[in-house]
Symmetry: D2
Subunit: 145 residues, 4 copies
Amino acid sequence: MQKSITEARRVFDVAPFIADLGCKLEQLESGICHASIELTEKHQQQDGFVHAGVQATLADHCAGTAAVTLIGDHQMVLTAEFKINLLRAAKGKRLVCKSSVLKPGRVLTVAESEVFAEDENKKQRLVAKATVTLAVMNKPQIEDQ
Amino acid sequence: MQKSITEARRVFDVAPFIADLGCKLEQLESGICHASIELTEKHQQQDGFVHAGVQATLADHCAGTAAVTLIGDHQMVLTAEFKINLLRAAKGKRLVCKSSVLKPGRVLTVAESEVFAEDENKKQRLVAKATVTLAVMNKPQIEDQ
Amino acid sequence: MQKSITEARRVFDVAPFIADLGCKLEQLESGICHASIELTEKHQQQDGFVHAGVQATLADHCAGTAAVTLIGDHQMVLTAEFKINLLRAAKGKRLVCKSSVLKPGRVLTVAESEVFAEDENKKQRLVAKATVTLAVMNKPQIEDQ
Amino acid sequence: MQKSITEARRVFDVAPFIADLGCKLEQLESGICHASIELTEKHQQQDGFVHAGVQATLADHCAGTAAVTLIGDHQMVLTAEFKINLLRAAKGKRLVCKSSVLKPGRVLTVAESEVFAEDENKKQRLVAKATVTLAVMNKPQIEDQ
């Protein structure tokens, strides 16, 4: 397995907030990451839909992991900014995210995430789309972008 | 207390994901909402910083609550989209968010959130800024924006 | 020809700023709009590249025109917000934009635009990607969103 | 006058698209840039309002100029991405933009722009707000971010 893929897997799994949210890595290859969350009541906002913050977290983390598959040793990524459109009120059994790198770069990598809500029949419906800009940096320089 | 302020307080407190994250409402007035999170290990990403998803969730929910203070009875808000810039790698004791409505509207309300990381000496540093677009709608029409 | 397609063509062509910029409608169908600009010196920023504002204008207008193909009579769209990532410094003979509706809605429509720089050999390179949120409204209510 | 202020003035004035649009530099100091456009018919979209692309161009260029006041010799900025909320349909005599740097950085600078429409009585109304992320780079490395 490629070193950057191994590192991407580590980055995905080692983040405490991602584990706490129940995010599960589904697929990982060069420039691509898929992940999912089994939805429970804890993921909801005030009206019973999946909280935008859950969708945003999954979209951001999955995009970052896709970016990590394309960086060098001794490098890391940090989200510089992201934008997410919540297209429909989301509910269902599972949230599935499919992220891919739109443009890798030495300094900035841009990735996109599509978030789907999956019902009990495994039917998926696009509920959110995000664009994520990631700063690529050498491992010690993380304090200040 | 104004009805919309009461409703905003309810919206803030009743969301399961917000309770799970440990978000606490700090201040609420017409068009303004402040909130905070006591940071623990569970809020971290892979390198020990506060996960962008935690910052985004707080920024989005706090902005939405600010928007609710300005809507009518029988109305609700749903995030249509948001964009967040992560300005610095965030760490500290507490995350504090200050949201205010930039432009209320009949159909769309735009709010801004500033997120600060607070250290053990209560010194705050701006770590993220978000712009949140909220769809204002009557309570039954939530399926489809 | 469908009425909304005719209206979309009118919207594209009648905007003075779009004519001034030299934007040309290339393709129009339900939910899709392609357009282009022959690049001249006037489209440049300070270093000889295509100004981000030119790319943004084309991305926004082309997305709005794609949205108009899907609205009803007596309706119009107004851009509520957009976000654009400039992926590479852009230069070439022509700027080509391909927009499509990601999610049509009664109140909000979300469209995406991909902007390509085309060289003298007609080779296209993706230089920008935008997500555009459009407010759909009845023709008189335009003062305030 | 500080060298970076001189360079910022040059960047503002030398961009052909900015001159073509009629943008005028109003104020320039460390981290701050104000600019304006006298509105004519050419700046309009299909319904007689100021085109979102005009507002976006002014917001982006003014933010970039504010960023240039804070960079070193032999450095330049290039817009990495921006997001703009169009808060109201804009019309009037003049468009005024006030940009300031939210967070300067070695690699990325984030600036904000507020765009106002000014009527014949010089009354200003906020019509748009943008957040702009700028890549700071050494002068030769501009091909690829």
